[in-house]
């Protein structure tokens, strides 16, 4: 009943928003910046993927901000989760548990494939759709899959932190090198190269490699932290079935927003 009333509320809100948006004139909005970028980007930056030249070339500082937001979120999450883990790990000692042959062998089968796809998407970010963020998430999935198959194996968190810090620092260093050459912060360096080849678009591929490594290391650390202190999974599965109404309504509200 509460769900249905929430549904009615949401549809009323949607109706109001529709009425409000109807007031605006739907026509050719004067997007001067967008037009200018569309015309100039190909010859200015030489990236075959226009989205990359916007994300890293014209809006590089925004990307830096996104990375900073992700870094803050993952740091806070791991801080909270590790403090919980210290309390619980004394009671329940997670032993090496195999979750079945099919999951384990498919995890080891998918690991190289996912790594290849992730690295391909990162390296070809300036040529084909995709880039550092998408490829980084796929890399994180590649590292998380073996952890899902064999829980309690643990990950090398210090190594992940090293990769993450190095990638983030190199992103900023590339931006500062541009400053030393008399350009703006994060302005693309080196020549364009031949458009469409792997070594083109100046420093944009380097920036995307940094973004991809950073996102991959951050997210795999986050997922490992979430999954890590796994006791014997029996109690979790049985507890899932008993869903209290309060949580259901909370989730319903969450999906609305």
């Amino acid at each position: 009943m509460r769900n249905i009333s929430a549904l009615v509320f949401a549809s009323g809100l949607a109706f109001l928003l529709l009425v409000i948006t109807w007031q605006f004139i739907l026509g050719g909005a004067p997007m001067l910046i967008g037009e200018a970028i569309l015309q100039q980007a190909a010859e200015e930056l030489g990236a075959a993927n226009l989205v990359t030249s916007v994300v890293l070339g014209y809006r590089g500082i925004d990307t830096l901000g996104e990375i900073a937001i992700l870094f803050t979120a993952s740091t806070a999450t791991s801080l909270v989760l590790s403090s919980i883990a210290e309390k619980t790990s004394a009671k329940s000692k997670p032993g090496l548990r195999d979750d079945g042959t099919i999951l384990a062998s498919s995890a080891s089968l998918f690991f190289p494939l996912l790594m290849t796809i992730g690295l391909y998407i990162i390296l070809h970010g300036h040529l084909t759709p995709g880039g550092g963020f998408q490829g980084g998430v796929i890399l994180a999935a590649a590292f998380f899959l073996p952890l899902l198959a064999v829980p309690g194996r643990g990950v090398n968190h210090s190594g992940l932190a090293l990769v993450e810090g190095f990638a983030g620092a190199s992103f900023i260093v590339i931006g500062i090198i541009a400053l030393f050459q008399g350009k703006a912060f994060l302005q693309p360096l080196f020549g364009h190269g031949e458009m469409g080849s792997l070594l083109s678009a100046g420093s944009l591929p380097l920036l995307y490699i940094a973004v991809g490594l950073k996102v991959g290391a951050e997210l795999s650390g986050l997922l490992a932290n979430l999954a890590e202190p796994s006791g014997n999974g029996d109690e979790t599965l049985s507890a899932t079935e008993s869903a209290s109404t309060e949580q259901t309504s909370m989730q319903a509200e969450k999906t609305k927003s």
Binding site: L7, T88, Q134, A141, T236, A239, T240, T255
Partner: protein
């Protein structure tokens, strides 16, 4: 092409309502991931492959994994607290 979009919108609506009405939380997470998957198909049709890739990877993959892991953690902590109470 319009029929593919209409089908995807229908799948999204069904998935979104399923999230609200279904009892099990794990099924709700799966339904919300299906919504993201249909949305990524719509992005491909609208010629935005970058956004489609992000939606497929993050929306239907990563966020549902994070939600499921958080759900398991919540349930485990709840079971532990009930055990210590009893």
């Amino acid at each position: 092409m319009i029929w593919v979009i209409a089908l995807m919108v229908f799948i999204m609506l069904v998935g979104a309502v399923t999230v609200l009405l279904v009892d099990s939380h794990v099924s709700a997470i799966a339904a919300s991931s299906a919504v993201s998957l249909a949305l990524s198909v719509i992005f491909v049709i609208l010629q935005a492959p970058d956004v489609a890739m992000t939606e497929a990877v993050v929306g239907s993959g990563l966020s549902s994994v994070i939600l499921a892991l958080a759900l398991f953690r919540l349930n485990r902590n709840k079971a532990k607290m009930e055990q210590s109470d009893a």
